[in-house]
Symmetry: C2
Subunit: 318 residues, 2 copies
């Protein structure tokens, strides 16, 4: 017998561009800072109002993101733009606080094995670190938001299963330690629409509106279906990368993050307002192809182009 | 304010393989009949129980499908396999009746412009033809099912908008003319999850369980999200092509049909039983790559491989 499912959809949604961080960190090339400025300008001109511009990690580890300070300074001058950065530790958080970004994302991996391999800390140690970051933020009198991002929330390539109860426990622990908000990430592309719905519904009951964002990878083709499932639990902010850049180290040729242009296209087609101008976004996608020659780019819309019916339908549904 | 949506999901679903017809007809190469036999055998061994093996169109128009008679004869000997064929006209229907296939799919394009360009008939003329086909079927004392497939149901590359009321009117007309069942197809990849939900809900109210199948293309990346939306209105049969073959003549490089392996993966991951063995299906996908060298193949799962958690999760959700 079919199981009844109750669902709702927001009238508007935000696509947070994370290509400059999560995308570029996976590519071997270093995109020049000026090109990143151009990217930020074009994304802003297309209507994007949340951009993760980089990460405060040592430049020797991620030379692709060594110009994060400059990018924050550049992006901050754009009115109404929320500028976010990733920080992996307290030192990174101090650099973020000094930079004047609006939001810092602190990643926690719910997979113990992935956490040790990636962050060299247990999940519990990351929770404790978020407490220190919160104290540092408050001591600095900063209004910068702290987002705790729970990754490998749907499983892990190293340890396999990640129990949902553990994901939810760690999410609660992040909030208790002082994160202003939390998000859930399918870091390795293991999620499916049913597991997304279950976990986001449970997470919503715990975190309420502090559950602020969903981060899906399209590694196995389910990225947008997972977005739809999360959307129907009330999530209205999604991370995405222009041209789906990001890749998956475990699977050569496989795509990484959900592509910004496909995601915005889906939302706008559904009559969900993203504030983004599709034509301008596709023009930026075209530029990205020129800026990143030979790099693996993904996404479907840019090849096929917008439907003839796009404007009419999006307008009618709105 | 979020709009409430009620939805349900079936416990099991059928993926109808249409790669041998809708896929191969779009490729320039002619796959040898023996390879098609191998494909049918491998798909059957993987658990697929509905296969569209070809089309009864003149061989000069589609040499890729000239061996449809042989394929029906071959596939019929597999116990429990439902063998379907596409027929564009009465002559094709007579060949289908003689072949002993289980189902004939008669396509109707709800777009007047597309119908004239593709079938050289108006939609209303196709409805009348279905009446003749039904009479021929009944006169032959055949148990063969007639499926009326309403294409360009979400818009058309030629005329743009296709009014939903016109789609529903033609679907009703097909049933009135004698089709045993009907399906809806997004022939050009214009659908989005919101339009899918609206149209399938309306169609269900008209056709009830005679609304038997959804056919989506992945031209703009929304194929699986559209499947999810249709699934939540109670649809439990979906067309798909192995390796997403099919293409889109209007968009070089763009994918065509939803890929069978990605679709089965999504459904099984969600705990929806398809009867298909994922490993065997991926082995067939591998073969298809060797059979069709240089052809545009699509889909994401085959690159990334199954998640470590696949069996456990699918088992737990079932």
């Amino acid at each position: 017998m079919p199981a009844a499912i109750s669902s709702c959809r927001p009238a508007s949604a935000t696509v947070r561009e994370v290509g400059l961080r999560d995308g570029l960190q996976s590519l071997s090339v270093v995109l020049p800072t000026q090109r990143k400025f151009d990217w930020i300008d074009a994304a802003y001109a297309a209507g994007q109002r949340e951009i993760e511009v980089g990460s405060f990690v040592p430049a020797r580890l991620l030379p692709q993101l060594a110009d994060t300070d400059e990018l924050v300074a550049y992006a901050r001058r754009l009115p109404g733009l929320s500028v976010s950065v990733l920080v992996p530790n307290l030192k990174g958080a101090q650099r973020a606080l000094a930079s004047g970004a609006d939001l810092m994302l602190v990643p926690l991996s719910a997979s113990h094995a992935h956490s040790l391999a990636n962050l060299r800390k247990t999940p519990q140690e990351v929770v404790a670190m978020v407490g220190e970051i919160r104290a540092a933020r408050d001591a600095a009198g900063s209004a910068m938001q702290i987002e705790g991002g729970v990754g490998t929330a749907f499983g892990c390539t190293l340890q396999g299963e990640v129990p949902p109860d553990e994901v939810l426990r760690l999410m609660q622990a992040l909030l208790d330690a002082g994160a202003d908000r939390v998000s859930l990430a399918d870091t390795v592309g293991y999620a499916d629409p049913a597991s997304v719905r279950r976990l986001f519904e449970q997470a919503r009951r715990i975190a309420g509106d502090r559950l602020c964002c969903a981060h899906f990878h399209d590694t196995r083709g389910l990225g947008l279906a997972n977005v739809l499932a999360a959307l129907e639990t009330g999530v209205s902010r999604f991370d995405a990368c222009l041209a789906g850049i990001g890749g998956c180290p475990q699977a050569p040729g496989a795509s990484g993050n959900v592509s910004t242009e496909d995601l915005v296209f889906m939302l706008e087609s559904m009559g969900i307002d993203t504030g983004v101008d599709m034509e301008k976004l596709l023009a930026l996608r075209e530029l990205a192809g020129r800026w990143l020659p030979g790099q693996p780019l993904h996404g479907a819309l840019w090849r096929a182009g917008l439907p003839k019916t796009f404007r009419a339908r999006a307008g009618a549904a709105a």
